[in-house]
């Protein structure tokens, strides 16, 4: 969380006087589920980057590579995992219904605070 300002230091009436400062509002601590990479290899299709409502997919534009997740702003909505075509392929190939935190997926949604339990990080 950024430093909270006093009432004399902020614009009146709740006005926001600079454009594009939503980035200063770190919404990452709202998250209940965290996106993490699984075993299936990313094909850099950028569907997650296109669909992420919080611009929280980090990409290397020069090398056209998906780099990971901006966890300061990611709210854990899981849209990236839902739109991931690699996930769709893995699910289709699997003989059973996969949980959203299944290690075989490309983008998995793991409950916050349970990474060690799930064998991540």
């Amino acid at each position: 969380m950024s430093e909270l300002k006093g009432w004399k230091e902020i614009p009146i009436g709740g006005m926001i006087l600079e454009a594009g400062n939503a980035v200063e509002y770190e919404t990452g601590d709202w998250r209940a589920f965290r996106p993490v990479f699984g075993e299936a290899e990313c094909i850099n299709c950028f569907q997650c980057w296109l669909n992420c409502p919080d611009s929280s997919i980090l990409v290397d534009a020069e090398n056209e590579e998906m780099m990971g997740f901006d966890l300061k702003h990611c709210k854990g909505c899981g849209i990236c995992a839902s739109v991931c075509p690699v996930n769709a392929r893995v699910r289709k190939k699997a003989e059973e219904e996969l949980e959203r935190n299944d290690p075989r997926l490309c983008i998995r949604m793991v409950e916050e605070g349970k990474f060690e339990e799930a064998g991540d990080e």
Binding site: L4, K5, G6, W7, I10, P11, I12, G13, G14, M15, I16, L17, E18, A19
Partner: protein
Amino acid sequence: MSKFEALDGNAAVATAMRQINPDVVAAYPITPQTATVQTFSEYVNDGLVDTEFVTVESEHSAMSACVGASAAGARVMTATAANGLALMWEIVYIAASSRLPIVMSLVNRALSGPINIHPDHSDVMGMRDAGWIILMSENGQEAYDNIIQAIRIGEHADVLLPVAVCQDGFITGHGLERVEIYDDSEVQDFIGTYKPQWPLLDLNNPKTYGPLDFYDYYYEHKRQQIQGMENATPVILEVTKEFNERFDRNYGLFEAYRLDDADVAVVVANSTAGTAKTVVDRMRDEGLKVGMLKIRLFRPFPAEELAKALSHLEAVAVMDRSVSFGAMDNAGPLYLELLAALTAHGVSVPTMDYVYGLGGRDILPGEIERVFNDALDAAQSGEVERRVTYLSVRE
């Protein structure tokens, strides 16, 4: 050169609006305010003003349009009454908390139900915590003068709050009186050009009004609003002084009528003050030392100044044209506020409340005389026999 015209309170306000020439007026007609916006719409039609008049489908939309236009950077006015104000409710708070200096002519009328179109102060007293500056007017002249000053007060950089200017429906709203109308150019010169600090239409500096504001900053924005209110009193005194000098008036935070050497006084707002003055004069002729204090500024409530002005009295009778249901003794809001002011500033004087005139019930000189007589009795005994009296209600 000013001139005198025979105008009712609505026409006086419409004239002030013509002279102010606001950028935007959004309003919906409601009795007893209809004549204001109807007259003003004729000025728009006749090309006497440059105003964009937004005809809306309800008061909720009227105040919403006012908020949008004011945020855009326009000088904005509206007018309403009673249930119209009630329908604006949600946006009335948003106007104040967004710090938009909208000026509203509020022609006081009883809130429904049962449905009634006649004057009392239940409408304005309902908005007393909404964050608006509230000025009360005894007659059409005062409504006219207050509207002009309201522009300057609300737009002041230290204030930036909306202002409501009240007058009693029908009694002054539709009562034809002699009103001194100043030169258009004098009024224009007094109000000056509005220079909004953060207009939305300044496209080179994009900004956001009304974003989500949670537990981390909402409270700080409320604290700023408190500061705006706190700054308002000195600003009102400054604007009033300039107005008095330019237009030869004698306004203050309140009006004291034969109060200095009085033993007892009535505290009253709006048109009943006129009747009370007549009663004061009559009783003074009989050698009774009675006086009157007329509320001009209700928000911010000039507690210390009022307490000081009443500190020498032996009894005070407040006259409330509305009731705060379920409040202490089911008293009126003016009484409760004044009692708190007297207590906070160490003025110990028997103080009674007289609720009167609800739904436009006439208030006659004889009844005000009775209030004074009660006050004189309380002054003599030093005790309040009955804290709240519902004046002239039939048993």
